[in-house]
Point group: C2
Chain length 273, copies 2
């Protein structure tokens, strides 16, 4: 891991394979927003096999916050349906290792943690539909202003499975009133990336007290003529995994996603073999 | 099970709940095509828990033939995300019981087979997108002519998982050449029901020798100006399960589907709690 460091700017025109290679070599440890444009980026949950069936059931029952886009064989660090050469032990720029439901460490590779018992679940991420919104000239405030998207706990109960349960986390984007229907229609086309909004308008209806006090990320301005629109968020499964208190669980660090070779607007997230 | 028999015609205006009640009581044992219009109908695979994780991985890797729309808790005959009162031991009008990969019997309820070890997986079915095609005035030949859809083995390899592997089975519908693009666009909107076509045109490209000799179902006429269009078929997972030779596996009988309370065009197949 003594590769010469490269910057986000160095990688801006790189392919998904090139970005993963830079990450694998240790040359790049930064966030992945804007890299390998047009490719699917994924949230990550790595957990012992004995919890995998319940976690997949949980994801199936809560498809908007937890859209499964890839599942590894037990003990196998490859994810061939997402990318031909993926090694999940090294191909994410920053990981979080949780033990008994508590953050233990943040690391840039997990070879030492890997065992024959682990299953990787890759989940869709909001970058996909945000790109589609921008493409349709629908403004995305936190991107315009260089902030992180505001995220909020809600009172929306998730459908439980085994030890996995809790409430949904949502992201909020202010959308001009006359573009809300279009934003709904566009994001609905991406079931692998949280789909259509969960709610529109009054934050109290979904248990949010103050839109200027997000639980994660940054507060963003809501301008005249805009309404707050809420989408299911990939932080949901991370919280649920944390609360489940598994002996071991590894996720990506926020913003440090797995980059797949699959196009983000492909019909399925399965790479043609 | 001494309920007074009812016919398909008697049930044509019944709700999903009423149809399931008629099936549960033993009053109705026929096919479900055209019943509970607008509701999702499902293929069924019931298998021992120790195979469930691999089967769910298999379905995730082959989402077009195997779109998962519901998964039960282990040993629990309910499917609350598909319908509030579903009891999978009695709510399907005809089941096939396979032992060691061979058809053992065809029955109208499976209470005697049920154990604490079984997991139910419900999979989407082509009724959903066929209704959408008909709605858009795209002809569906086998429905027009009162036949079963023609189904064919292909040479398209499935992505394996554990003991589950094989080739895709497809259905074929002749579509007027100028409506093929529209048929593609419409069915793509239903990822929970096989999505967009797998192939269009030349059957030999996907390993079909003769369109007039389907492996299952009925041959249908292809008229001048029409092209054969191929969609992934729910018989695929049934074949794969059979080949896997599980000690026990229960499916619905062809055409005798589980009827859910979820609208077939809903964004997700999860009933609002």
């Amino acid at each position: 891991m003594n590769a010469k460091p490269v910057s986000h700017t160095d990688l801006i025109a790189a392919t998904a394979i090139e970005v993963r290679a830079a990450i694998r070599s240790g040359a790049y440890t930064g966030h992945t927003a804007g890299l390998a444009a047009g490719k699917l980026q994924c949230n990550l949950a790595i957990l012992p096999e004995r919890y995998a069936l319940d976690f997949l059931r949980f994801c199936q029952r809560n498809p908007k916050p937890c859209p499964v886009v890839g599942v590894s064989d037990t003990g196998n660090p490859a994810l061939p349906t997402l990318g031909r050469d993926i090694d999940i032990r090294s191909d994410v720029s920053k990981y979080r290792v949780f033990r008994d439901g508590r953050l233990s460490e943040e690391v840039t590779e997990i070879s030492d943690e890997w065992t024959d018992d682990l299953v990787t679940v890759a989940l869709g991420c909001s970058f996909t539909f945000e790109n589609a919104l921008l493409h349709a000239s629908i403004p995305v405030r936190h991107i315009e202003t260089g902030l992180n998207v505001p995220m909020f706990r809600t009172n929306i109960d998730l459908v439980p499975a085994g030890r996995f349960h809790g409430q949904m986390v949502v992201t909020m984007r202010p959308i001009p009133e006359d573009q809300v229907a279009q934003a709904h229609e566009i994001s609905r086309r991406f079931p692998q990336a949280h789909g259509a909004p969960i709610a529109v308008g009054d934050p109290e209806k979904i248990g949010i007290a103050d839109l200027m006090q997000p639980d994660w990320g940054d507060a963003v301005e809501i301008r005249a003529g805009e309404v707050p629109v809420y989408w299911a968020c990939g932080v949901t499964p991370q919280n649920v995994l944390l609360d489940a208190g598994l002996p071991l669980c590894i996720t990506h660090s926020p913003g440090h996603m797995l980059i797949a070779d699959v196009a983000e607007d492909a019909e399925t997230t399965i790479l043609k073999q």
